[in-house]
Amino acid sequence: MSSPIPPPNSAPRLFQPAQAAGRRPALGLALTLTPIAFVLVLLFGGAMLLAVLQSLGFAPWFGVNTFPSLTYFKALWASQFFWISVGLTLYYATASTMIALVLAIPLALALTKAFPGRGLYDYIYKLPLMIPYLVGIALAVLMLGNGGILSRLAAYVGLIDDPGQFPAILKTHYGWGIITVYVWKQTPFMTLAIYAVLLGVDRNTEEAAAVLGASPRAIFFRVTLPQILPGIVSSSLICFAFNMGAFEAPLILGGGFPDTLPVIAWRYFNDADYTLQLQGMAAVVSMGIISGVLLFAYLAAYRRYEMMIGRV
């Protein structure tokens, strides 16, 4: 009679198919990564390389080949207007990212609580995510422009005599219109990113801190904020990078010369003299360098913090 108890070595057999397929995951991984590698290396990498080459004077198809020369960079960097543009670009990008962040954190925290109308709120706050930037820009023109709804309303209620007297929000170098559009569009995105991180946070830590005597302020800065930092860092990184490179809002709502870097690049590309494209490429590469250095420094600082708090 055979024993009803299986021999001891029979149990691991269950796992053998997976072990036999030990070489397959590598192949599977390679297959999974191929499309993204293709996009990154060939399309993006190739374009990057070409942009750098052009900015250094390599464009035989335009009949220009002074490679390698820094002429275009020198022309750009020697102009004080270029540096004003850099400042302007950084100002719009930083201010709108910071404002959106300051709005998004309380919004995300509110989403974790139950209150009347929460369902509606949950739906409404995401609306701007679904509306394209250009529509947002058009709305800003309609609403904030000198002939816009706000100015007409102000004139109607008698705050000003004529809509034309309404303080300029658009087309100024303060960039209130640009910042408004960025903030309007990006606050929901940041809220969503921070909310996702908040869902993984043990909210008992906040209660524990309260019982230990921490004020609501101390709880926020010492317990909640450090725990939602991954969401803050990732979403602000993405928004800042986007704002650095975005061009339609500064073009339409900005104050004109001096423009932001992407608008400068666009003007060069659009010029009848197509050899100016090389100058445009130098602007694009400059923008890439500035943005890259800043984001790298930001990430490095965050990484140091993560190491300090033992997360990596």
């Binding site: 043990d202 209660e207 524990a208 309260a210 019982v211 230990l212 005597g213 010492r222 708090i309 997360r311």
Partner: protein
């Protein structure tokens, strides 16, 4: 050492009433366990004492002072949560020091107390670790140290051992009991595990559906449950219907049994007889019985290591008897059950 008093406390969430008019006093230095099934309201009680929930009615008094409207930060109570709730971005040291640091205590005092706490919870070697690098038991010890360092007037623990394995639970129970005795801290401990409650408590408050079913020392609760629900929750295996025919005699499926006088039950009352499995003696010969002998046949034997549980058939009724496993009686054999009058407890309906 603080006395805690809950006076007429009620708590509702919308239309759901979690706590129903609760009166409970916890003497200073006492270790009280709130015991009850999940969702019975014991955690809500704890959260109200801590100040994390506001009572819908009634008041909470700490040493006679009404703290019902005192914000959580100012109550000076301590709470250990089920999943430790350590701050994941702080080291063990920083976690423990948090309470003193938010109070802005001087550095020297903080250092001194930190060493004292690390000594109590025996975590010197782990002081620079982060919570993610600790085991479940170590995390709970940090949570306890983090709470104790603020010298709370009351220590509350919400199922702190729920996530730990059996062996670690036993060690942690001893540890918690030792610390509590050493510091003579008023302690309220929530659990749904009756064995845990028995081991730890000076008194156990059994809660069902937001009501206090019984509040008594463990031995009394075990031997003299106040109602069927408590008896059932405390794991009483033998409950039989009966009628009180004389003031110390009850008619049951085993015939008439002599019992201790039951002042709570009127004559002729229908009662439930409760017999603890380990309070019944088994004898191989009828002559050895001392009180009242009932014949039974062993139909099942469960060997549990230190003890052995027999299921006996006495006429049409089955009864469980447990005894030390020094001897083992065979299934099928006839034995004599000996039931002392004082080991029968009657529950009136």
């Amino acid at each position: 050492m603080t006395k805690v008093h809950l006076s007429g406390v009620r708590k509702s969430f919308g239309s759901f009433t979690a706590i129903e008019h609760l009166e409970l006093t916890i003497e200073s230095g006492e270790f009280v366990v709130l015991l009850g099934p999940s969702g019975c309201g014991k955690t809500t009680m704890l959260r109200m004492i801590a100040g994390l929930e506001e009572p819908s009615a009634g008041s909470i008094l700490l040493d006679g002072a009404d703290v019902s409207n005192t914000p959580v930060q100012e109550r000076n109570v301590g709470m250990v949560f089920q999943r430790a709730a350590l701050f994941p971005h702080m080291t063990v040291e920083k976690n423990i020091l948090f309470g003193l640091s938010v109070r802005g205590r001087p550095r020297g005092e903080m250092r001194e107390k930190l060493e004292e706490m690390l000594e109590i919870v025996q975590l010197h070697d782990f002081r620079h670790r982060f919570p993610a690098q600790l085991s479940g038991g170590q995390m709970q010890r940090v949570a306890i140290a983090r709470t104790l360092i603020t010298e709370p007037s009351v220590l509350m623990m919400d199922e702190p051992l729920a996530g730990l394995d059996t062996k670690l639970r036993a060690t942690m129970r001893r540890f918690i009991r030792d610390v509590q005795k050493r510091l003579r801290l008023t302690t309220i401990f929530v659990t749904h595990d009756q064995a845990e409650a028995m081991e730890l408590a000076d008194r156990i408050a059994v809660i069902f559906d937001g009501r206090l079913a019984q509040y008594a020392p463990p031995d009394l609760l075990y031997k003299r449950p106040s109602c069927m629900a408590v008896a059932d929750f405390m794991g009483v295996s033998n409950i039989f219907p009966g009628t009180l025919v004389a003031k110390n005699r009850v008619e049951s499926a085993f015939g008439q049994l002599r019992v201790d006088e039951q002042p709570r039950c009127p004559l002729g009352a229908t009662v439930s007889l409760m017999l603890r499995a380990e309070a019944i003696d088994l004898h191989e010969h009828k002559e050895d019985t001392r009180f009242q002998a009932i014949e039974g046949r062993i139909v099942e034997r469960d060997f549990l290591g230190a003890s052995v549980v027999y299921t006996l058939e006495c006429g049409a009724t089955r009864i469980a008897v447990s005894e030390p496993s020094r001897r083992l009686l065979d299934v099928g054999r006839t034995v004599w059950l000996d039931i002392a009058p004082e080991s029968v407890w009657l529950l009136s309906h």
